[in-house]
Amino acid sequence: MVSILKRGLAIIILLVIGYWLAQGLSGVPFGQDKMLVGQYYLNHVKQQTGAVNAVTAVVVNYRGFDTLGEVTVLFIASTGVGALLWGKNRKRTARTEGSVVLTTGTRLLVPFVILFGAYIFIHGHLTPGGGFPGGATIATAFLLLYMAFTMYEIPYKAFEKTEGIVGMGYVVVGLIGLAIGGYFLFDWIWQTWGWGHNNIGRLFSGGFIPVIYTIIGIKVGTELSGIIDNMLKEEVKE
């Protein structure tokens, strides 16, 4: 009985919150043009950043500072998971080997999945996608390996170092911008050097967007596979 009362109370509270939110939302009509800064981005994105995909330009270039923070958040998560599940002697404890279909399929697919991930993040400024889905795709390849083979382990020490180096790479790109253009995270490849100005819509354009997205892709891939690795290993008592 008590539990039903509690649920009823919770539902009433939630309905009140929902009504309140709906009231707030009714002042923000759906499907109307409410853009202010957004329109500026759409009007100037091609000349100012060289990217065709406006979302990518906003993520990496106009609001690159957010993305730096976001990469940091993921780094914190991977570090934190590593710190919390830390152990001196940790091994995988899976016992069931994957089925024939899974193992054969994995052997066949892993290189292509990684290649596809790389394709997604390199073409981030032209097509939908970018560093985050690309990196997640790469992590999925390692996830497949983990599921198919009981003994498989990623070289996690190398991965950790890669994570660190690539993260430093991002900050260093930003600092080069500070040195060349006078602003942190300044797009020096596009705005100072002017590379790829007559190439808009093809691969070699977009200033430092492909560079940063490659960095993000590698970083996200290694971090997510590091998280998977940490979650799957348990402390073994000899």
Binding site: S3, I4, R7, G8, N53, V55, T56, I120, P128, G129, G130, F132, P133, A136, T137, A139, T140, L143, L224, I227, I228, M231, L232, E234
Partner: protein, 94 residues
């Protein structure tokens, strides 16, 4: 009402249904699958709202990887919510 609107109504309905199931199912593995389904339907909705980037990211990260991480955590803890803590709610009984 044209057909695109019908699709969005159906998708939102199914999404809400799977969200309710994900919260109510006592088998945590099934609940995780329900959560991943919510993410997947949300990703289709993102696509219909003209956000392909977000749709891809949600499908890859929200549905696949976060579901996988949940499943690993369930593997290292327990699969079912324990008996005494849960009685069927008054609107979903089975």
């Amino acid at each position: 009402m044209n057909c695109i609107a019908c699709i969005s109504y159906i998708l939102v309905g199914v999404m809400i249904l799977s969200a309710i199931l994900a919260v109510e199912w006592r088998d945590l593995l099934a609940a995780t699958v329900g959560m991943a389904a919510v993410s997947l339907f949300a990703s289709i909705l993102f696509f219909m709202l003209q956000a392909p980037d977000v749709a891809m990211t949600e499908a890859a990260i929200g549905a696949a990887l976060s579901g996988a991480v949940f499943i690993f955590a369930i593997k290292r803890t327990q699969r079912f919510e324990s008996e005494e803590e849960e009685r069927p709610g008054w609107w979903v009984r089975w």
